[in-house]
Symmetry: D2
Subunit: 351 residues, 4 copies
Amino acid sequence: MNFASDNVYGASPEILKAVMAANTGTCPSYGEDAHTVRLNELLRDVFETDLIAYPVITGSAANALALSALCPPHGVVYSHDGAHVFEDECNGPEFFTGGAKIYPVEGAGGKIDPDALRHAMGRFVRGFDHHPQPSALTVTNATEWGTIYRPDEVRVLTDMAREFQCRTHMDGTRFANAVAGSGCSPADLTWRSGIDAMSLGATKNGALGAELVIFFDRSLADNFLFRRKRAGHTISKLRFLSAQLVAYFEQDHWLDNARHANAMAAKLASGFSGMPGFELVAPCQANEVFVKMPADVAERLRAAGAVFHNWPSGGDNCIRLVTSFAADEGDIDQVLALAADGMQEPRTAVS
Amino acid sequence: MNFASDNVYGASPEILKAVMAANTGTCPSYGEDAHTVRLNELLRDVFETDLIAYPVITGSAANALALSALCPPHGVVYSHDGAHVFEDECNGPEFFTGGAKIYPVEGAGGKIDPDALRHAMGRFVRGFDHHPQPSALTVTNATEWGTIYRPDEVRVLTDMAREFQCRTHMDGTRFANAVAGSGCSPADLTWRSGIDAMSLGATKNGALGAELVIFFDRSLADNFLFRRKRAGHTISKLRFLSAQLVAYFEQDHWLDNARHANAMAAKLASGFSGMPGFELVAPCQANEVFVKMPADVAERLRAAGAVFHNWPSGGDNCIRLVTSFAADEGDIDQVLALAADGMQEPRTAVS
Amino acid sequence: MNFASDNVYGASPEILKAVMAANTGTCPSYGEDAHTVRLNELLRDVFETDLIAYPVITGSAANALALSALCPPHGVVYSHDGAHVFEDECNGPEFFTGGAKIYPVEGAGGKIDPDALRHAMGRFVRGFDHHPQPSALTVTNATEWGTIYRPDEVRVLTDMAREFQCRTHMDGTRFANAVAGSGCSPADLTWRSGIDAMSLGATKNGALGAELVIFFDRSLADNFLFRRKRAGHTISKLRFLSAQLVAYFEQDHWLDNARHANAMAAKLASGFSGMPGFELVAPCQANEVFVKMPADVAERLRAAGAVFHNWPSGGDNCIRLVTSFAADEGDIDQVLALAADGMQEPRTAVS
Amino acid sequence: MNFASDNVYGASPEILKAVMAANTGTCPSYGEDAHTVRLNELLRDVFETDLIAYPVITGSAANALALSALCPPHGVVYSHDGAHVFEDECNGPEFFTGGAKIYPVEGAGGKIDPDALRHAMGRFVRGFDHHPQPSALTVTNATEWGTIYRPDEVRVLTDMAREFQCRTHMDGTRFANAVAGSGCSPADLTWRSGIDAMSLGATKNGALGAELVIFFDRSLADNFLFRRKRAGHTISKLRFLSAQLVAYFEQDHWLDNARHANAMAAKLASGFSGMPGFELVAPCQANEVFVKMPADVAERLRAAGAVFHNWPSGGDNCIRLVTSFAADEGDIDQVLALAADGMQEPRTAVS
């Protein structure tokens, strides 16, 4: 009953098998191997467009490297106030961009509010050298609050970005969950909605450790190899990452995994929503449930072995439960039973 | 017959097995798992001292992260002129240190010449704010020229570093080869010879991708977690790296691998050294052979399928051959036979 | 009738005279001259404490250099949302700190709201390596909205900073106006209220170009000389800056200048406040007036030769008028007469 | 008898007078004043070409800002091993470029040796992402050893730079001395010899503090305003720097000053060269004399009040004497008499 994060689980058997299969003979290092070539071909099919993709080891690296290709040191990147790039990467984007400003923008349910974005983008004057220059927008899909931007919502933001001469990035750490949850195509959610570059994660969804930087506008990749090497993210035996990613995208493995994780979250959310004293803090559209529940219920769940984090930015008594590709439905049932069970008994107030 | 690099080979079966074995159940992310804890214990045994160690994905990351802990932005890191940190990391150490100067020092056979180091360290005046400040020394062992520093040689350099108030780092990308080749203990080659921090590589010697930053002086690690995260090198499913490294050090697997690689290189070097027109550019002490050979012989080897790089910094007709843990002795024999064969025939000049 | 900024005026005769007087004979460069020594002594008197001070050429340099001494690259600096360091220095603080985050905090009248600060400081968890670390607070006095923090207001914020293990900085670009306007001593407004370091400006208040970085906690200055030199802010003929600053502080020249500027602003504000259709956006406590006035009045003032900026962040029809040490009272009278004159006539709407 | 540096002297009367004259009325800040406009016009005449120029306060700032426009973070700047940018700016160029490598190249008399440059430039492979990329060449004229590159010497180096796809910069801290000493035109020494951008100093040659960044290729200035502001080098009352520079270039004031300084140095060098036990370390072509003299003579000069630095990089007993625009010929005579006087007496060995 571990709901602490999707990365507390290991790797899927399919992906582990692909790693083992890649361990044959010699091949060129640093990305000129057949697995990486195949990966790029596969991604062009998945996204129905030309693109160039680079595997890296973490989502933070993918984000920081991508943003550094979109924003100069004197620029501004606009993100959601609760975005991973703003609060959970220890100033990594600032480091990689050479000191750009990551500007937090408000918005309900983890989504950037268009009016707030317009206000933020309009604040710094283009060409005025005292002001940092609006340069990039990043949106996270699925969001940090387990919601999903639909293509028209992305488009509103990317159109605004273009109006202010900003390039656009999607943080797709949980992109599989967004695709699975929305039923939209990868293309519709990204470049067809105005996205220039993205980070796409596999680690949380079944890989051992493999993330992607993808450029739909290949001109943005001009200095990417140098940026990547300079940051220590050029991996010698890259075949072992690329092989994971090939297995991830082949035969819809990524979407199968995400569908399962989403379904388990939906089951949790659905179960909770009928219980008195429970309140979903954000609609559950992907694989995360943010819920306020009575403190004693949370205690009881923990006492029974459930692992999850308090989530104070969601308000008092808010907790987060994350489901993964490997989530066990029995665990879900047990959590719901434990929670419901408490409903039937008189509870003593917990301070 | 691939001698291009030790990283064109895959992973050893023992290490791959350990990765598979680590894929059970849930565990905390980002380094609080049992594998990482075990790894630190194991390393304390291997090095016979207290220390703290952090797995990362590349040797360039290990070097840059370690050096950034030893040298401020206004500092100078002294390295060999041919060191990986100086010429092969695309200014990564400069990036991570916030713009420190990596100062190249000459020396034969890949080893820093003590007189040249004294000259270099004495050049910038301590406390004089126009001068960048001498801050760190880095030595590579085994060196980029396949030679090995013995403990007394390391000590001469680290004593000088202390005299100039510099901290000390060892780039141990091929440290296993240095230990195996020298017969010295890990402790004798490092902290007992005055080394404060090191990078230690496993990738070239049988891992899928796993390197270490090790601090013998733990006070240097104070901000390491922040540095690592900010650089995108904090890996969520770290168990999969730590498991590789546990397998690497257990039961001397790292030394067995290195001994084989070294023996294969020694066999090549020994065979070449008796052939007319051949000249070893540096003594073969680890797993690399730098040799000048007649251009037509090199051509013939390539025509027969051998893969290796020209190495112009070794002079005209210099090539480099690297052997790995997985090198096939039959390949070595074949290369030597092909080379010797040419010796017995009249050769036509090759332009 | 130029109210565009206090820096559109030249230098005061007293300060210019001091520069001329400093042009005698030879003296050591880079700060070891008698003028700089004298300046430090004088500042210890002015602030009634030990301190160390360094002249630099711009306020942006003073801010960025000071903040870089207080905040590591993985840190967070909290500033007002409208602070110069956040919006008007083109990411200079981010550059000098090596990529720290400048976190904007709301508050009326240019002053940081304590509740908003507590929320912001509490957001990132101390010691959690995914989060940037709370490191420094900066307050501007007088503020960017022409208001003044009193010592008890500063103390509330610096106490909170200490609670969150943050060091404290005051941006005193217009510190003379704050001292003159509050009637408080320099000491009371700064170190006695918990400030560790400050930037103190003279340029806007009568100098040709001279600003100060002052450390009340001298331990923060440990690497300052290196930081300053590395940023190109170590000035060879420093006597010419220090001489300006000595003249600035001697015989209360700085306060005389500021009192005049403040009085002229107060006269403007007082005059405007009685006029129908006028609204002061912030209380006028220093040398800046932020006022909404009918668009046709602003037009008329401009037509008559008055120079000032629209200030959209103050709302529709908000303009800013800045008065300086050299402001001419006749100009003030004329502006008020022009504004009042329009009050008595029927006005035509201006689009 | 102060020969410590050319910056221990104050400002010339002409330049000080121009500063006073600039102190009239209001004018736009930050470079849109008439003085700065006039300065650019004047420089176009002086250099006989279109260009764009920006005043800054120090030569280190000029160098670092200019180089950051020519070299990306993953690039290499080639400089002389003894260049100011390499050894005397506390890693400023590394800071401003975001971590580029400043690569030291040998050469006699402060001039880059073309063969050594070719070797250095050829070392890193274009397009190979492990290698930092050759990006810029910087030459200092007059050099740090008081010698002067003639146009054909500059051309050899800039041609080589272009061959390796590098842009070119001249550090003209003592450019006036180079023009005066060579008799060549400013244009011939710079853009006509292949220079794209330069730093040009006035501070050492009579200004209070004023240096220039000049772009002959204006496309290189695209982001300059942002770079400058971000570094705290955008000066509000810029008129006071520009006025100095206008006076500097008008009526050949800069060349008159430099001719005097050069003549005084030449007189010193000429006098020394006939004395037994004296040896000029580099030919005296500008305003610096590097001379080995018997230790007791140096002692005697110091005892008589002469101020100068030992210059250990010139060898044992090497000292440096710098003459300025304000050097007194009587001082020169006295130094020569003191030195010669010692020649006639038996000397006791000084340890």
